[in-house]
């Protein structure tokens, strides 16, 4: 439910003409929430521009996967390329937006999503380059972890993926923008009060001029 709320809201961030990368996991699911006529170019770091929805058994090709290992379709006007070219595209900032998950994100826009020392360290993958080099980083995550601790922090505690890289955060409770003044609360989930969101958030939240519901 909370996942669906995040994805539905996030779908509005994707506009016609954009080139975007969707991170493994929740961000990848965003494809299914986009209107069928949304004219976007989805980049997958294993070497695809123009990724589409997941393929069915009938349409799946064993040689065509996304970075998460799912069989995908492609749209007309797509291209395949090697991993060096794929990351050249990333480092040269040819992507308009990267959508990523987070373990922690803080009010300065620092992002931690690759390692939990002693517990989870499967490697870096493409996250570091995507986070450091994409113009806009959109974070999708639950507002709190399963123990009820805020993932939206004053200061990240885990090893960073990249410094000051995040533009916007969409959680099941709120939409927040990283600005030079700090983290601005833009929207709150329907049924919640601003106080409840502030309460559930470790970071200092600046209240936007108008805080709408989503």
């Amino acid at each position: 439910m909370s996942l669906e709320r995040i994805l539905k809201r996030a779908a509005h961030e994707i506009t016609d003409g954009q080139t975007i990368n969707l991170g493994i996991g929740v961000p990848t699911m965003l494809v299914n929430y986009l209107p069928a006529d949304r004219d976007v170019m989805i980049h997958s770091e294993n070497g695809v521009l123009g990724a589409g929805r997941k393929a069915s058994v009938a349409t799946a090709d064993p040689a065509l996967i996304d970075a998460g290992g799912s069989y995908i379709t492609t749209r007309p006007g797509g291209a395949f390329f090697d991993s060096a070219v794929s990351f050249a595209m990333i480092r040269r900032a040819k992507l308009d937006m990267s959508v990523m998950g987070a373990f922690e994100v803080d009010q300065e826009g620092n992002l931690a999503n690759w390692k939990i020392p002693g517990k989870f360290s499967p490697g870096i993958g493409g996250a570091m380059e995507l986070a450091q080099k994409t113009k806009n980083i959109l974070i999708l995550c639950t507002h709190q972890d399963k123990h009820g601790n805020s993932k939206i922090l004053k200061k990240c505690t885990l090893p960073l993926t990249a410094e000051k890289c995040v533009s916007r955060i969409i959680t099941d409770m709120a939409v927040m923008d990283v600005t030079k003044d700090g983290l601005v609360l833009k929207e709150i989930a329907e049924g919640l009060t601003i106080e409840q969101v502030v309460q559930a958030t470790d970071a200092d939240l600046i209240l936007g001029e108008e805080v709408r519901s989503f």
Partner: protein
């Protein structure tokens, strides 16, 4: 110029202790049949360089599980719990790089250069301060080229000279590894005569390829994996 050979002879070129680049991002591009022969011949103390560790029970995971691998240089092994466990219990040495940096290290070796200057992860824990230099008024990191003795990967099509094309996302690291390794062994289910591949569509020119092995590719590793498609 004919590089077509039998799999036993091609893999027998690999000694114990070799550094081997293995193509493939996940399954596409992974040379499952060459790996099977390497498993059968049993070379040990190998250092493998691959984007990932495949998944438990297939691909290079089999070599790791079989104790033939001393070290893995990779970018992400999250889809292979078995290899994560072997790393955590200290029985496998694992070295991680950001994905595009691993690609670029290999490509830099392939270009005959010694290293490149980058700012990726400059101030993160992946950077050793000794690799940072002051250059043209800023700090940059010197990332050394990554060479290897061998590269093994899968090509959708190959001619007997070793001109290669890759299918869809099976390209990934393969063309880079072809340039970076001393001896390049390629498996393909479609071995064709020179001239069959239009010169403008060649992904890897024959000069970078040492041996071409024709394979069957009828095994389940070359087919769809369950649960990875829309029901």
């Amino acid at each position: 110029m004919d590089k077509h050979t039998v799999i036993e002879e091609a893999i027998a070129l690999i000694p114990n202790g070799a550094d081997i680049m293995i193509g493939g991002f996940g399954s596409p591009g992974t040379p499952f049949t060459l790996i099977e022969e390497l498993l059968r011949q049993g070379q040990t103390d190998l250092t493998l360089i691959k984007n990932d560790a495949n998944e438990t029970g297939i691909g290079i995971s089999r070599l790791i599980e079989n104790g033939q691998v001393k070290k893995l240089i990779t970018t992400h092994i999250g889809l292979n719990k078995k290899v994560v466990d072997l790393m955590n219990d200290g029985s496998l040495e694992v070295s991680f790089f950001p994905q595009g940096i691993l690609a670029e290290k290999i490509r830099t070796a392939g270009a005959g250069s010694f290293g490149f200057l980058t700012d990726i992860g400059l101030h993160s824990e992946i950077t050793d301060k000794k690799d940072i230099i002051d250059w043209q008024g800023k700090q940059v990191k010197i990332e050394p080229a990554l060479y290897a003795n061998f590269a093994l990967f899968h090509a959708g099509r190959a001619d007997t000279f070793g001109n290669l094309t890759y299918r869809a996302t099976a390209m990934n690291f393969c063309p880079l590894m072809a340039m970076a390794a001393e001896t390049v062994i390629v498996e393909t289910p479609n071995l064709v005569t020179p001239g069959s591949i239009a010169p403008e569509t060649v992904h890897t020119p024959s000069a970078f390829v040492s041996k071409v092995v024709k394979i069957d590719a009828s095994g389940p590793e070359y087919d769809l994996m369950e649960g990875r498609y829309e029901p």
